[in-house]
C-alpha cells in the first residue's frame, strides 16, 4: 500500500519532480566533483611542486676539501653503496635521485666546472630545466653562461682537459636553469669519473622524496640509518609553502561545498513548497479517508528521500565525469575517482532533500472539509 502510493505520487507529478530532481542532480554533480578534487588535490599539488627539484641531499661527512682545485683528496662517497641504500630504503618514497661528481677542468684555456651526473636522472629530478637542442642525444649539456662564454651551440665538439687526461664530447643541449648549473657543463658521470681518475666515486647525491615535511624527515632518518657514514640533509624550501597552499585550497573548496549544499537545499525547498501547495487536495482526500497525518507526511518524506537518493546517484556519476574534466583542464591530468564519494554524496543529497521537504509540514494544517469543498 505504502509502496503503491509512493509509486503513484512519483509518477503523477512528473513535471514538478523533474525540477526538484534536476536541482538535486546538479547539486550532487558539483559536490561530488568538488569532493573528488578535495581528496585528490594533495597529490596533484605535490606533483606540481616537483618542479622545485631535489629536496634531500646525501653528502659525505666531513665534506670539506682541505686542498685546492678539485683535487683527488676531496672527501667522496662510494656510488655503489649510496645507490644500493637508496634503492633498498626508498622504493616507494623516492621519486628521483641523481649522483654528482664535480671537477674543475679546462675547455681550451678556460677553467670550467664539470658536473658528472646521470643526465636522464638529473633532468627528471629538475623538471624546470629548459633545454635547447636535442636533449635526448648522448653527449654533454652545457650551461647557458658557459655556452655564451665559449660560443657553444648544440652539435659543437668540445675537448675537456683535466691534468694530463682529456675527453672529447659533443654538446647535446644548452641548459637554462637560472641556478648554479648555468655556469657548469653537465657530462655523463662515468666519463667524468674516468677523467678524474675516480671510478665509482661521487661527491653528492640529490634526491626527491615524496610527501610533506614530516614524511621527508622520516625518510631522511631511515636513509641515514642505512648510510651511517654519510650525511643526509633535507632541503626545506618547498614543504612549508606546499602545506599552506594545500590547507588554504582545501578550506576554500570545502567552504564552497557547504555553500553549494545550502543553495541546493534552498532550491529543493522552493520546489517542495510549490509541490505542497499543489498537493493540498490529495492530502485533504487522504485525511478524509482516514489517513493519519504521520502516515501522510511519511509518504511525502519517503518520496523526497527517493528523489534525493536517485538524484544523488545520477549526480555522482556526472560528478565523476566533471571531476575528470576539471582535472584535465586545470591540472592536465585526470583525477582518480574515489568510491567513498558515492555514499557521502548520496547521503548528503538525501539529507538536503529531506530538509527541503520541511514545507510539507504545512500539510498537517490542511482541513479536509475545506479542501473538499473546493476552497
Amino acid at each position: 500500500m505504502f509502496g503503491r502510493l509512493l509509486y503513484k505520487l512519483l509518477r503523477g507529478n512528473r513535471g514538478r519532480l523533474t525540477v526538484a530532481l534536476i536541482a538535486v542532480i546538479s547539486g550532487a554533480a558539483v559536490i561530488s566533483a568538488l569532493l573528488n578534487i578535495e581528496f585528490d588535490i594533495g597529490r596533484k599539488l605535490s606533483q606540481e611542486f616537483r618542479t622545485l627539484g631535489p629536496n634531500l641531499v646525501i653528502a659525505p661527512r666531513g665534506g670539506i676539501q682541505t686542498e685546492d682545485a678539485g683535487s683527488a683528496s676531496a672527501v667522496l662517497m662510494d656510488q655503489a653503496s649510496v645507490s644500493a641504500a637508496v634503492a633498498q630504503t626508498g622504493s616507494s618514497d623516492v621519486l628521483g635521485a641523481a649522483p654528482y661528481l664535480y671537477i674543475v677542468a679546462r675547455v681550451g684555456d678556460t677553467p670550467v666546472m664539470i658536473a658528472g651526473t646521470q643526465l636522464d636522472e638529473a633532468r627528471a629530478l629538475n623538471p624546470s630545466w629548459k633545454l635547447q637542442g636535442n636533449a635526448t642525444a648522448s653527449g654533454c649539456i652545457v650551461g647557458r653562461n658557459v655556452a655564451q662564454r665559449l660560443n657553444l651551440t648544440p652539435g659543437a665538439q668540445i675537448e675537456i682537459q683535466y691534468v694530463d687526461r682529456q675527453a672529447k664530447m659533443t654538446v647535446a643541449a644548452v641548459l637554462d636553469s637560472g641556478a648554479a648549473e648555468d655556469g657548469q657543463i653537465l657530462a655523463p658521470l662515468s666519463a667524468v669519473q674516468q677523467l678524474a681518475g675516480l671510478p665509482g666515486r661521487i661527491e653528492i647525491e640529490q634526491l626527491r622524496a615524496k610527501g610533506d615535511d614530516a614524511a621527508i624527515a622520516a625518510y631522511a632518518k631511515k636513509l641515514s640509518a642505512a648510510l651511517p657514514s654519510y650525511d643526509v640533509r633535507p632541503i626545506a624550501q618547498a614543504t612549508e609553502v606546499e602545506g599552506n597552499l594545500l590547507r588554504r585550497t582545501r578550506l576554500l573548496v570545502g567552504s564552497m561545498v557547504v555553500l553549494i549544499l545550502a543553495l541546493t537545499a534552498l532550491c529543493v525547498l522552493a520546489t517542495m513548497a510549490a509541490l505542497a501547495m499543489e498537493r493540498r487536495e490529495d492530502v485533504g482526500l487522504m485525511k478524509a479517508l482516514g489517513g493519519s497525518i504521520g502516515r501522510i507526511v511519511a509518504i511525502f518524506v519517503a518520496e523526497v528521500g527517493v528523489l534525493g537518493a536517485a538524484g544523488g546517484l545520477i549526480g555522482c556519476v556526472i560528478g565523476v565525469g566533471l571531476a575528470q574534466w576539471i582535472g584535465e583542464s586545470v591540472f592536465g591530468a585526470s583525477i582518480t575517482p574515489r568510491w567513498e564519494i558515492f555514499p557521502i554524496t548520496v547521503a548528503l543529497m538525501t539529507l538536503v532533500a529531506m530538509t527541503g521537504a520541511l514545507p510539507l509540514r504545512l500539510l498537517g494544517r490542511v482541513k479536509p472539509a475545506l479542501i473538499l469543498r473546493g476552497e
Binding site: 674543475v104 624546470s128 641556478a179 624550501q237 573548496v253 543553495l263 522552493a270
Partner: protein, 433 residues
C-alpha cells in the same frame, strides 16, 4: 492604481515573499562572498609563495664562470666583476617597486678558519635585516630573512652591524671539536696579497645555519665585514631578489622586442617576472637578471592552476545561487495562480499582471540583494579570516554586480511561470481546479 496594487501585495502577504526574499539573501550572500574571495585569492596565494624565497638572481654581466665545489670557490680572487651596494636603493624606484618584497646581496671570499685546526672554507657576506636607503628618502629593510626564509637557524642570526657570524651546519659538525653558538672563531682571507691584510679577524658565532646548499660548508657574516675582509668595500657579487609576480601567460612568453607599442605598454605594466627583471636591468646597468626557474616555474604553474580551480568553483557556486533564486521566484508566482485568475477575471490584461509581478520581484531582488550583499561581506570576512588569516577587503564594485545578478535571475525565474499563467483560462482557476 498599479503602485497601490504592488504595495498592497507587499503589506498584505509578507509571508509569501519570505521564501523568495530568503533565497535572494542567501544566494546573493554566497555570490558576494565567493566573488570577493576569488578576486583576492591570486594575490594572497602569490604572497604565500614568497616564502619559497628569491625568484630572481642579479649578476654582473661580465662575470667569469663560477668554480665552486663544496662551498669553496676556486676562482682567483681578483677575477670577476662586482656590483655596487650603493645602487641597490634604485630597485625600490622601478615601476613595480612595491612588488620587490626583498633582496640580499652576496659576496663570497675564500677563507681559512685559523687556530689550532686550520680549515678551508668560504666567508659569505650578506645582510640579514639591513636598512637600505632608497633615493626617495625612505629606507627599506631587507636581507636573507626575506629572500631565503627557509634557511633554518639554530641560535640567532648575526646583527648586521656587529662582528658576528653564523656557521654552516656541515662545517660546524666537521670542525674538529665542533663549533657552537657563543664561541669565537678566527678567520683569515686565504688569498691575502698586497691589497688585503692577512691578519685574521675574530667573529662571534651566534648561530648554526642549515640550508641544504653550499652555505652549509661556509661561514656567513654581515656584508660589511666580508667587504673589508676582501678589500672590495661597497661591492657584492650576486643579488637574490624576491618579487611578487603574476603567472606568465602568452604575452609574457613573447620577446619584448617583437611587441607592438600597446602590447609593450601592457607587458611593461603587468608584474610578469620578465617585465620586472627588465626593469631591474634598467635600474642597475651592467647587470644581468636571471629567473631562478625552479622557483619561478613552480610558482607560476601552481598559482595559475589553483586560481583556475577556484574560479571554476566560484562559477559553480554562482550558478547554484542563480538556480536557487530562479526556482523560488518561480514557486512564489505559481502559488499565486488564484490571484492571477481573479485579476484576469475582472479584466486585467496579461501585461498588467506581468508588470505587477515583475515589479514585485524587482523590488524584492533589490532589497534581498542589498541584505545579501551585507551578509556576503560578513561571510567573506569570515572566509578570508579562516583561509588566509586576514579578512578579504570589502569591494563596493561588487554591489552593482550582485544587485544586477539578483534582479536578472529573479525576473528570469518568474517570467517562465508568468508566461504559463498568461495562457491560463481564469474560469477553471476560480473554480479551484
Amino acid at each position: 492604481m498599479f503602485l497601490r496594487l504592488v504595495k498592497e501585495s507587499f503589506v498584505r502577504n509578507p509571508r509569501r515573499k519570505a521564501l523568495t526574499a530568503a533565497a535572494l539573501v542567501v544566494g546573493m550572500a554566497v555570490a558576494t562572498a565567493t566573488l570577493s574571495v576569488a578576486l583576492e585569492v591570486g594575490d594572497r596565494m602569490a604572497r604565500e609563495f614568497r616564502s619559497l624565497g628569491a625568484n630572481l638572481l642579479v649578476t654582473p654581466k661580465a662575470d667569469t664562470l663560477p668554480l665552486q665545489i663544496g662551498g669553496v670557490d676556486y676562482r682567483p680572487v681578483n677575477e670577476g666583476a662586482y656590483l655596487n651596494v650603493s645602487d641597490l636603493g634604485k630597485l625600490k624606484m622601478i615601476f613595480w617597486r612595491h612588488n620587490i618584497l626583498g633582496f640580499a646581496p652576496f659576496l663570497d671570499v675564500p677563507a681559512t678558519i685559523t687556530g689550532k685546526n686550520e680549515i678551508h672554507t668560504t666567508l659569505i657576506g650578506t645582510w640579514y635585516e639591513h636598512e637600505v636607503p632608497v633615493p626617495d628618502g625612505t629606507t627599506f629593510k631587507t636581507g636573507v630573512r626575506s629572500t631565503h626564509p627557509w634557511w633554518k637557524i639554530q641560535g640567532r642570526w648575526f646583527d648586521d652591524n656587529a662582528k658576528e657570524c653564523v656557521v654552516g651546519a656541515t662545517l660546524a659538525a666537521n670542525y674538529p671539536g665542533g663549533i657552537a653558538p657563543g664561541q669565537t672563531i678566527e678567520i683569515a682571507n686565504r688569498a691575502a696579497d698586497s691589497t688585503v691584510a692577512a691578519q685574521p679577524i675574530s667573529l662571534t658565532v651566534t648561530g648554526i645555519v642549515s640550508t641544504g646548499g653550499a652555505e652549509d660548508n661556509a661561514v656567513l657574516a654581515p656584508l660589511s665585514i666580508a667587504q673589508n675582509f676582501s678589500g672590495h668595500s661597497g661591492q657584492f657579487r650576486e643579488l637574490f631578489v624576491s618579487a611578487l609576480t603574476k603567472p606568465a601567460d602568452a604575452l609574457a612568453e613573447r620577446d619584448p622586442k617583437t611587441l607592438t607599442p600597446t602590447e609593450y605598454d601592457r607587458w611593461f605594466c603587468s608584474p610578469y617576472i620578465s617585465s620586472i627583471s627588465f626593469q631591474m636591468e634598467q635600474a642597475l646597468p651592467g647587470t644581468e637578471v636571471r629567473t631562478i626557474r625552479r622557483v619561478a616555474d613552480t610558482e607560476g604553474r601552481v598559482l595559475s592552476r589553483i586560481s583556475t580551480l577556484l574560479w571554476l568553483v566560484t562559477i559553480a557556486a554562482l550558478i547554484a545561487a542563480a538556480l536557487a533564486v530562479a526556482a523560488t521566484s518561480a514557486a512564489t508566482v505559481l502559488e499565486r495562480r488564484v490571484e492571477i485568475g481573479i485579476m484576469k477575471a475582472i479584466g486585467a490584461s496579461n501585461s498588467l499582471v506581468s508588470g505587477i509581478f515583475l515589479t514585485e520581484q524587482l523590488m524584492l531582488a533589490i532589497v534581498g540583494g542589498l541584505i545579501g550583499f551585507v551578509c556576503g561581506a560578513a561571510l567573506a570576512r569570515v572566509l578570508g579570516e579562516s583561509v588566509f588569516g586576514s579578512p578579504a577587503p570589502l569591494k563596493l564594485v561588487l554591489l552593482p554586480i550582485v544587485l544586477g545578478i539578483a534582479a536578472g535571475v529573479a525576473i528570469i525565474g518568474s517570467l517562465i511561470p508568468l508566461r504559463r499563467a498568461a495562457r491560463l483560462d481564469p474560469a477553471p482557476i476560480l473554480k479551484g481546479e
